[in-house]
Subunit: 345 residues, 2 copies
């Protein structure tokens, strides 16, 4: 390797940024879009771009196989295009998890009084033959209260969970995401700061300490997904014996809001959305994690703990945190899910 | 769950800190130590503690099964005690990876002129029956230049790699850690800043972009270990076809030192310790990752890429980054390792 090979020219940062912005509009659209609609969409988002420029980018995207030209119906994103959006500009995604939590908390519209509105889900898919074993593993986690709440939904291939369509040959499972707590707090006027996802050691059912930590603002990946993929949890064991390693999230709330936080936590449990695992005192460390002056620590179970228990059973899953939203009324209590499963079959 | 169960008393932070400090002295000791030696050791590290206080802590540690009392020979750390040190005070370990890199770079003593001194190793263990298949997978990574350098060492059960003793029924492999580059740069008066470990996409043998990032200062885990555990690499494929996902580390060096950095990189390659995958221009983004004014980006292959290729083959390994140091002269070129393996068998 000689000197020249090492030296990298600065990449065309602005061009790549524009391309990814265009692809992202298609990524988030329910179907194909034309260049006019894409340009309008980008201008609404504050980007100064002409329809003509968008057309030039789209021609290049066609060549890269990122988009397919459907003629008058516009462009459709290909699988390669989807991969491109997911993997381009990764530096923008560091801290992106924290931003996504805030975004979804704002979009969560459930009104506790009427029980109408959307909640945030984690979605997973499994092979249909693994459904019974998966639900069994999940039930034990729900019973031990190591999940977020008691509600879930199951869908077969071709059906949707919110905007997520279950692929052929798979079975979809939607579970409550811990972001819903942030949503309920936000509706009560309380802003939550998400600090890190970690592995939490339970002993005799009580949280002892975090054994690993990944800060939300220092990672492009959801920390809990990383821990589950790496087989670092023992949620099933924790559910059975009270001792084990589960996923948990550390957040902070303003000290002045503590009484209201307690009220919201009770409300959230009543709604089946899950409660709080531990709440720290004003300005006090919680499980040895210090908080800034004026804040209190708050620990919630990872919503993905139920799926961790499935993975621990050796069942192959694809799993995505904070990936969908659906109507609260579409969810079922885990104690009644077997009748739902029977009816969709 | 009622209010009281949530509220956590601040834990005995100072007591736990002292206990862990005592256990850590035993952790780093080659054999059992008495309370007097432990107290002396802690006072040398700036901690104000009496021998009598150490004895009280050790009695408690015996009860918790963290230490075993060997009478006049002192206390020995148990497996449970070792686990305790590894998992206690995790908040102290966030950013710990960056600190460990700096510490080891300083301790790396190899003198390029005399080729004498210590280098930093990653150590891994496998089952002896997997040794041949592992070395084959590793060889391809070395040949494709996706490893750190060309040197490694193999040891059978009971033998040592630096201070690391290979456990019964296992076979040990020591490979070059990418921290050695920091060590060589430091000897040339250049301080390196370690920013993140990531997954790097290669296409036709050339680095394209990072697809995932975990900052060293936001994690208690080594990012590359996390990616390998989660089966997120395709180092074997990259070695074979030139295209795939490998582990890599992003660092920064002062702009003024760039000519010397190039010289050290050539030297490092000559020593078999591995070179630089990409070097950015002054103040310029490298693979779209911006750097502060006055710095240049530097990307090196993860030393663990060779072990990633082994894991990708479905071979069970235990692996630890930056875990050992050994004499440079004890290492062998990968092209000659088969004869070494034959001789130790």
């Amino acid at each position: 390797m000689n000197d020249n090979e090492w030296e990298q020219k600065p990449m065309g940062g602005k061009r790549e940024r524009t391309m990814v912005a265009i692809l992202r509009v298609l990524y988030n659209a329910p179907g194909p879009l034309g260049s006019e609609r894409i340009a309008q969409n980008l201008r609404n988002a504050g980007m100064d771009i002409s329809e003509r420029a968008v057309r030039t980018y789209l021609a290049e995207a066609d060549e890269c196989d990122w988009t397919r030209n459907l003629g008058r119906r516009g462009r459709l994103l290909t699988e390669a295009g989807r991969y491109e959006v997911d993997h381009a500009l990764v530096i923008d995604k560091v801290g992106f998890i924290a931003a996504k939590v805030d975004q979804l908390a704002y979009q969560m519209t459930l009104d506790p009084a009427t029980r109408k509105g959307n909640v945030v889900l984690n979605t997973a898919t499994i092979q249909p033959k693994d459904l019974r074993a998966s639900l069994n593993a999940m039930r034990k986690v729900y019973e031990a209260n190591l999940s977020m709440g008691r509600l879930l939904t199951v869908a077969s291939a071709g059906e949707t969970i919110g905007p997520f369509r279950v692929p052929n040959g798979r079975c979809g499972i939607g579970t409550i995401c811990s972001v819903n707590i942030n949503g309920l707090l936000l509706r009560a006027g309380i802003a939550t700061t998400s600090r890190f996802g970690g592995l939490l050691e339970l002993r005799d059912g009580r949280p002892q300490r975090f054994t690993e930590i990944i800060n939300y603002d220092g990672s492009s990946l959801d920390p809990i997904e990383v821990f589950i993929r790496g087989f670092m949890t023992s949620v099933g064991k924790a559910a059975k014996t009270g001792s084990g390693i589960i996923g948990a999230s550390f957040r902070e709330v303003p000290v002045a809001a503590l009484p209201e936080v307690r009220r919201v936590a009770v409300l959230s449990e009543k709604l089946g959305l899950g409660g709080i695992l531990a709440l720290g005192g004003p300005n006090q460390p919680l499980l040895d994690i210090p908080v800034p002056q004026g804040r209190a620590g708050l620990i919630v179970c990872a919503g993905l703990n139920v799926m961790a228990a499935v993975v621990e059973e050796g069942i192959a899953t694809t799993s995505a945190a904070m990936s969908s939203m659906c109507e609260y009324s579409a969810l079922t209590d885990y104690r009644e899910i077997h009748s739902v499963v029977a009816s969709i079959k």
